[in-house]
């Protein structure tokens, strides 16, 4: 067993875990933060994207031990005082989700895109940068629209 300490959504947590525990399992099983999903086993679908030290990563492809000492933000950590983050609000406003399963990863990736490309990010860039996030419901159209709208408001 290994001791793992990290900050998750602003709170410090420590757990004794097996070295083979993935970050996504740590979040879902140890912390019951089930907003981060597992949709594949080859690191491609992006349903598990969270931020580690401010950068998007796939929580299914990082050991909990690797995240020790770092700050993790999950979908549950975005809304503040009951107020949705502009990216969350934009996904709702523009119908950027249907079944909702890919949505947490989409939103976390979307934030990362806007952080790197700014508020004037172009549609083409958004589409390219969503390479690591799969959605089967929406055809991506409204996801792209939501991200562009949120970017402009952030």
């Amino acid at each position: 067993m290994a001791s793992v300490t990290m900050t998750v959504n602003g709170e410090s947590v420590t757990r004794e875990v097996e070295p083979r525990m993935l970050l996504v399992q740590f979040l879902r099983e140890e912390l019951r933060l089930t907003g981060t999903h597992v949709g594949c086993d080859t690191s491609q679908c992006g349903a598990c994207v969270v931020h580690v030290d401010g950068k998007s990563i796939k929580a299914c492809t990082m050991l909990a031990s690797q995240a020790s000492g770092k700050a993790v933000t999950t979908i549950e950590g975005l809304a503040k005082n009951g107020e949705l983050h502009p990216m969350q609000a934009a996904f709702r406003e523009h119908h950027g989700l249907q079944c909702g399963f890919c949505t947490p990863g989409m939103i976390m990736s979307a934030l990362d895109i806007v952080q790197r490309h700014g508020s004037n990010v172009q549609e083409k860039t958004i589409r390219e940068e969503l390479e690591g996030n799969l959605c089967r419901c929406t055809g991506y159209h409204n996801i792209v629209k939501a991200i562009q709208a949120a970017a402009a408001s952030m």
Binding site: R20, R28, L33, T34, G35, T36, H37, V38, G39, C40, D41, T42, Q44, C45, A47, T74, I75, E76, L78, A79, L84, Q88, F91, R92, E93, H95, L97, Q98, C99, G100, F101, C102, T103, P104, I107, E123, K124, I126, R127, E128, L130, E131, N133, L134, C135, R136, C137, T138, G139, Y140, H141, N142, I143, V144
Partner: protein, 791 residues
């Protein structure tokens, strides 16, 4: 002023609140006290005899509670999985219906078939145990694809299905068609493969079975599109528990697209094992690799089709020969997809007077094939719309003109097709006109020229589709061999304070029912939108339901809501009359206000609901309470139609196809929430683009191993594969639906492959099959020169 929330308003979805904050509750998010974990052992062979299973080493591992095999399940008299639709073949015989065991025993017939389950305290322990299971297989030769599975020397799957034939079926007028072909001025021909798809709902399937020995009740938490149907199958056919002792809960479900209609072996096993183990809940969650192997696949047709035309390009007759791959076993709707949902749609939007279609369905050593996102109708549209453009090219008639010459005229509805359907409504020229206008069809030649200057081949393709959805009516479905009723139910329950809970048998796994159904109730009954809750997905809460598939929630589920609302209004009028000391016949209802005609005396629905539950002064002979149920069984399918147009550019050096523009104009009848309807279309288009360009399930033709078993090899459409989509709807109500709606869930997936393939063929001047992968396109462009270039 508040934003509108009634029928037709673009209300942002209320369910989004939980999904965008990470508070969705999918099956894998649920954990039951004391739960065990199940890992299934799957066949590594396409076809083999199971000689021996030795579980002693596995059972001795730490944490292992049980190893079960097919023998154990069979010994407990648990029935097999079922096909719910009996197709009567051309000789009047029912389709061959071989047994489909929950866990294989004796033989395995496809890679990924369930062989055993390991159940342990932790997931890792269960996996270790599954790995430690010692299974001796004696491999047998396998048959993988069409048409070879019908060959005389093909390996045989089932004793019950000689020649691997499931059925040989036909529909239409064989002789009339032959006659028309003999008189044709031109015959257009095409050979097509409708490529096999893997569903890939983003949430993998999952199940928790839980037995309560105190009450002898079983609960199944599962990823289902239709929990009541699952309960019926588990109870009536598999015999796991009587229906009143079984509860099926499908909480938030992450997409289904057909693949979650069916009852699968894993969920049966979890439920059965929980009872076997004295009530400890048993949980299983698929890994994506398991989803690829075992979620029922879609499509997989091989078709030859011919269209006879007169000298003016008028269609005289259509004849179609299709082979359909069923996989190794039948699932719930496997048999009806290539028959009633396919062949019966071959008239398309056209006045083709004679149609004849033969379908041979065969077994292969591959995973089950069943209804997937459009189910039969994408295959039919693809045949018709490819053939129409081929005929246009052959005869030198402009491709929109040949369609116009053959459209069913708008004034001829209801229109009976030569293949069993009666179309209720449509205005096909109007859809075409609007599509052409949106994409600036007239400007295409100039765009093509401009692309040529950049070294690109530009093409434009159309698909004018019609489909049948809102699977119904029960009597017809029954007559055609369907095993269940095809109604839907809705229960509107007022609380004494005037708020409402709507219980619907439709199940939302992305469609937004919690929003749309609340809009309907609010609109019909005048209850504020925010005072309406929509409950679904739990047989312990919702009395009855048939679930969500075949775009039936709007037309059938919505219809049931309307019937229930009508009953509420009728009863409310009685109560209002008493409250207002008027006669019932004088009460007028508008938006929740019940008024004595010609006066300003009125009460509202909240006051009426309160009175109904606090009936201190109440009309004689009226029962207290305001709680009404509607069961809606439609008179016919609904028939959405539309025009889809794709514009592409092809890079001749690489064969890469780029989508440069896309328009879709759909007739869905009354649109209840345009935001949601447009979203449904976008998603369907992405599926159609996936099928036409990217997706293909490939099995090794000898070994039967799945070569596209992960996202490394199965190509899912991504955001950068698609352009911005321009979609519109018209507003032609369905004449026989209580809400005038037609269903919108599958149109995009049905119409799009033909539009895109027609555009590619237009660009490169050669016919090719789906998916139009870069290599295939490049080879088609370069034809004979290709070999030299590649030397």
């Amino acid at each position: 002023m508040n934003a509108p929330t009634g029928i037709g308003a673009a209300v942002p979805r209320r369910e989004d609140q939980r999904f965008i904050t990470g508070k969705g509750r999918y099956v894998d998010d649920l954990n039951r006290a004391g739960q065990l974990h199940a890992v299934f052992v799957r066949s590594p062979h396409a076809h083999a005899r199971i000689a021996k299973i030795d579980s002693s080493a596995a059972k001795a591992l730490p944490g292992v509670k049980a190893i079960y095999t097919g023998e154990d399940i069979a010994a407990d008299k648990v029935g097999g999985l079922i096909c719910g639709w009996v197709v009567t073949d051309k000789h009047g015989q029912p389709h061959r219906n071989p047994p489909h065991p929950v866990l294989a025993h004796g033989k395995v017939r496809h890679v990924g078939e369930l062989v055993a389950v390991a159940i342990a305290e932790t997931l890792a322990q269960a996996r270790d145990a599954a790995e430690a299971l010692d299974i001796d297989y004696e491999p047998l030769p396998a048959t993988i694809d069409l048409p070879k599975t019908f060959a005389e020397d093909a390996p045989q799957l089932h004793e019950e299905a000689p020649g691997n034939l499931c059925y040989d079926w036909e529909v239409g007028d064989r002789e009339g068609v032959e006659q028309a072909f003999s008189e044709a001025a031109h015959i257009a021909k095409v050979d097509l493969v409708n490529n096999r798809l893997i569903p890939n709902a983003m949430e993998p399937r999952a199940a928790i079975g839980e037995y309560d020995s105190g009450t002898d009740e079983l609960v199944l938490y599962t990823t289902s599109q239709n929990p009541h149907v699952t309960r019926l199958i588990l109870s009536a056919f598999i015999g796991i528990a009587p229906e009143h002792k079984l509860r099926v809960v499908a909480p938030d479900v992450g997409g289904g697209f057909g693949s979650k209609i069916y009852t699968y072996g894993e969920e049966v096993t979890c439920l059965w094992a929980s009872r076997k183990l004295g009530g400890r809940p048993v949980k299983w969650v698929a890994e994506r690799g398991e989803s690829f192997l075992s979620d029922a696949h879609g499509r997989d047709h091989v078709t030859h089709a011919e269209l006879a035309l007169d000298k003016d390009g008028k269609f005289l007759a259509l004849r179609v020969k299709t082979m359909a791959n069923m996989g190794a076993y039948l699932q719930v709707f496997s048999t009806c997809v290539p028959t009633y949902l396919y062949a019966c749609l071959l008239a398309g939007q056209y006045l083709t007077p004679k149609i004849f279609c033969e379908v041979r369905a065969g077994f292969t050593n591959t995973n089950c094939v069943d209804a997937y996102r459009g189910a039969g109708r994408p295959e039919a549209t693809y045949v018709v719309e490819r053939l129409v453009e081929i005929a246009a090219r052959d005869m030198g008639i402009e491709k929109t003109e040949i369609r116009r010459r053959n459209f069913i005229p708008s004034e001829s509805f209801p229109y009976e097709t030569p293949v069993l359907m009666t179309y209720d409504s449509g205005n096909f020229p109007r859809l075409l006109d609007r599509g052409l206008e949106m994409i600036d069809y007239k400007g295409f030649p100039a765009r093509k020229q401009e692309a040529e200057r950049r070294g690109k081949l530009r093409g434009i393709g159309l698909s004018c589709f019609i489909e049948a959805c809102g699977l119904a009516p029960s009597a017809v479905i029954g007559a055609l061999g369907g095993g269940v009723g095809q109604w839907e139910s809705a229960n509107i329950k007022f609380n004494p304070t005037g708020s409402v809970t709507l219980y619907t048998g439709s199940h939302s796994h992305g469609q937004g029912h919690e929003t749309v159904f609340a809009q309907i109730v609010s609109d019909l009954l005048g209850v504020p939108y925010e005072n309406i809750e929509v409950a679904h997905g739990d047989t312990g809460i919702v009395p009855f339901g048939m679930g969500t598939y075949g775009s039936r929630s709007g037309p059938v589920g919505g219809g049931a809501v309307k019937l229930a609302a009508d009953k509420v209004i009728a009863k409310a009028k009685k109560i209002a009359a008493h409250m207002l000391e008027a006669s019932e016949g004088d009460i007028e209802h508008e938006s929740g206000t019940y008024k004595v005609a010609g006066t300003d005396k009125s009460v509202n629905i909240a006051q009426i609901a309160f009175t109904a539950y606090v009936p201190h002064s109440y009309p004689e002979g009226v029962e207290p309470g305001l709680d009404e149920t509607g069961f809606f069984d439609p008179l016919n399918f609904t028939f959405p139609s539309g025009t889809y147009i794709a514009e592409v550019e092809v890079d001749p050096d690489t064969g890469i196809v780029t989508l440069v523009d896309w328009v879709a104009v759909d007739d869905f009848g009354i649109v209840m929430n345009p935001l949601i309807v447009d979203g449904q279309v976008h998603g369907g288009i992405a599926q159609g683009v996936g099928q036409a360009l990217l997706e293909q399930c490939v099995y090794d033709k000898e070994s039967g191993q799945l070569l596209t078993g992960s996202y490394m090899d199965y190509c899912m459409p991504r955001a950068d594969d698609l352009p911005a989509l321009r979609v519109e709807t018209t507003d032609m109500p369905c004449p026989h639906n209580p809400l005038g709606v037609k269903g919108c869930g599958e149109a995009g997936a049905i119409a799009s492959p033909a539009a895109l393939m027609n555009a590619i063929v237009d660009a490169i001047g050669k016919d090719i099959d789906m998916p139009a992968t870069p290599e295939k396109v490049w080879r088609a462009i370069h034809g004979g020169r290709m070999a030299a270039a590649a030397e």
